[in-house]
């Protein structure tokens, strides 16, 4: 019985270790993405061109609703003024 319990405990410990290792590895990947991958991608000419293009026009490519879109403020104001 005691050896069975010890075996269970070892199994649980090994499974926990695997899970935590997976989380730590994923967290390291996230940190690498944030500090290395994304800044490096931004330096690729085609990507940089797209970013600059959006910045010039005040376009937020990640907007989920029209109120999140900065360039629309002036469009709406103009439409409401002339309507």
């Amino acid at each position: 019985m005691t050896s069975k319990n010890a075996s269970h405990a070892r199994g649980r410990y090994s499974s926990n270790l695997k899970r935590w290792s997976a989380l730590v590895m994923a967290a390291v990947l996230v940190v690498l993405t944030l500090f290395v991958v994304l800044p490096a991608l931004a330096e690729i000419p085609a990507v940089k061109q797209r970013i600059d293009f959006n910045n010039q026009r005040q376009i937020d490519g990640g907007a989920t609703f029209y109120t999140d879109q900065p360039f629309l403020e002036s469009v709406i104001a103009e439409r409401e003024r002339t309507h």
Partner: protein, 465 residues
């Protein structure tokens, strides 16, 4: 809120409406007290909450810049961090009060630390989404928030104590009622009839046809998944998915799946559609309207429209804006259809046994009524106050959209924390959701192009030049 442990007489829907009303009332009052005549005597609207509420800002070189910025002279600006902390305080107070009302002091002791961790995870999702590359390619916060939550739940598993801080349904409902402030029906006519025709005629046809196709042709088992995919594909992506999922009481995994699919196809469409439009030689107005009516996400529509030109950008964004405003009607329609037609069928009743008015009232999701009421109230204020547009814009821009964004981000982290990869794989079996999306989007592309050509290429062509 946790329904099992709550002995409260207040439902989750009513609590969501109360919390949202509180946040909206504070925003309205703050803007009213902060606005007035400027130096030149003209009206200047200002929302003082904007100084205390915000989210991580755009960054390129280092994620630290999203919360602590350095200007050209090297001075450190802590205002984004202060605003994030301010938002946490606002949210913890409001949502904590709701938890206290439903569960008392014992539940609030568990809620506050767990909510803080969920808020931190949502903050990390926001920081990643604020990266310039992520923004340029429409990798929205919803995707990162779901990913971060799922990373934890699929590795170490979500700890029991953290579950006190995830209240997916409550976050979504409160966020949706607040979103009602941004659904300004009074703005519709100013946006132009051709755009209204493209968005309000084609969208409902595609929504209903796609749902019908999923049920009758593909024979999808889950009506709710069928509806959420149909709505997020035909209306406006993430926000429509949230609204429709809440209206038809879809499962969390179904919402995750619909959003994941929508964002994946959006990235492809935002790159490919402008190339096709240029290739076939459509004019900017027709091309813009086509983009606005078919690409799911608001951000991607603008990015794709800008590739065609300034006119296309404006038309595309306007059509999408009109679709955004449609989500109030869509959510109400879906909730009504569900309580009158779907739920009685699922309850094994005869088709002829329609529920009575009292039964419909009992089942109808109250927060949808809150959402509609807020939309009507803000539309009236917007249309009737002397400086309504400036005042309402400040209320929205200064605080309500910040609260709405955080609430949705918190909801997505919570969904991720409750989702296992195996649960998602189960829904993808047979590929029916992907087939539904592809067929629905094909119909959307054909009908929107026809309507865009009719409106912007023939009927209103002269008035646009």
């Amino acid at each position: 809120m946790n329904k099992n442990s709550s002995a409260s007489y207040l439902s989750e829907d009513i609590l969501a409406i109360i919390c949202a009303a509180l946040l909206l009332a504070v925003s309205l009052f703050a803007t009213w007290s902060g606005s007035g005549a400027g130096e030149g005597g003209e009206y200047v609207a200002k929302n003082p909450i904007a100084d205390f509420a915000g989210k991580p800002t755009k960054w390129s070189a280092s994620p630290i810049d999203a919360i602590v910025r350095k200007d050209a002279e090297g001075t450190t600006d802590y205002s984004p961090l202060k605003k994030i902390i301010g938002t946490w305080v606002f949210m913890a107070l409001t949502l904590g009060t709701a938890v206290f009302i439903t569960g008392g002091g014992k539940r609030i002791a568990g809620f506050l630390p767990a909510f803080t961790v969920v808020f931190l995870l949502a903050g990390i999702a926001y920081v990643i989404a604020a990266n310039e590359v992520a923004k340029a390619y429409n990798l929205e916060y919803a995707l990162w928030a779901l990913g971060i939550g799922m990373l934890i739940s699929n590795t170490i598993g979500t700890p029991a104590w953290l579950k006190h801080g995830e209240n997916t349904g409550f976050f979504i409902k409160t966020g949706l009622v607040i979103l009602g402030a941004e659904v300004l029906v009074s703005r519709l006519m100013a946006l132009g009839l051709p755009g209204v025709c493209v968005a309000w005629i084609v969208t409902p046809i595609v929504l209903i046809s796609t749902y019908w196709f999923g049920q009758r042709v593909l024979k999808m088992k889950s009506r709710t998944l069928n509806m959420v995919i149909s709505a997020d594909m035909s209306v406006c992506g993430v926000s429509a998915a949230i609204a429709s999922a809440a209206a038809c009481k879809a499962k969390k995994e179904e919402l995750s799946l619909a959003i994941g699919m929508s964002l994946s196809f959006t990235v492809v469409m935002m790159v490919v559609l402008p190339i096709i439009i240029k290739f076939i030689g459509l004019n900017e107005y027709v091309g813009g309207a086509w983009l606005g009516g078919t690409i799911d996400s608001t951000g991607a529509v603008a990015a794709a429209g800008a590739v065609l030109g300034d006119q296309a950008l404006e038309v595309a964004a306007t059509v999408k804006m009109i679709q955004n405003i449609l989500i109030g009607v869509a959510a109400f329609g879906i909730a009504s259809y569900w309580v009158t037609r779907v739920e009685p069928l699922e309850g094994k009743q005869e088709r002829s046994e329609r529920p009575g008015l009292s039964e419909i009232w009992k089942r109808f999701p109250r927060f949808i009524l809150g959402f509609i009421a807020v939309s009507i109230l803000f539309s009236i204020l917007h249309a009737t106050l002397a400086d309504g547009p400036a005042f309402i814009d400040q209320v929205i821009k200064g605080s309500t959209k910040t609260f709405r964004g955080w609430l949705f981000c918190l909801a997505f982290v919570s969904i991720g924390l409750e989702t296992r990869f195996a649960d998602l794989a189960k829904y993808l079996k047979g590929g029916k959701p992907v087939i539904l999306y592809l067929c629905g989007q094909t119909l959307n592309l054909i009908l929107t192009l026809a309507m865009a050509y009719l409106m912007f290429g023939i009927l209103f062509k002269d008035s646009l030049q």
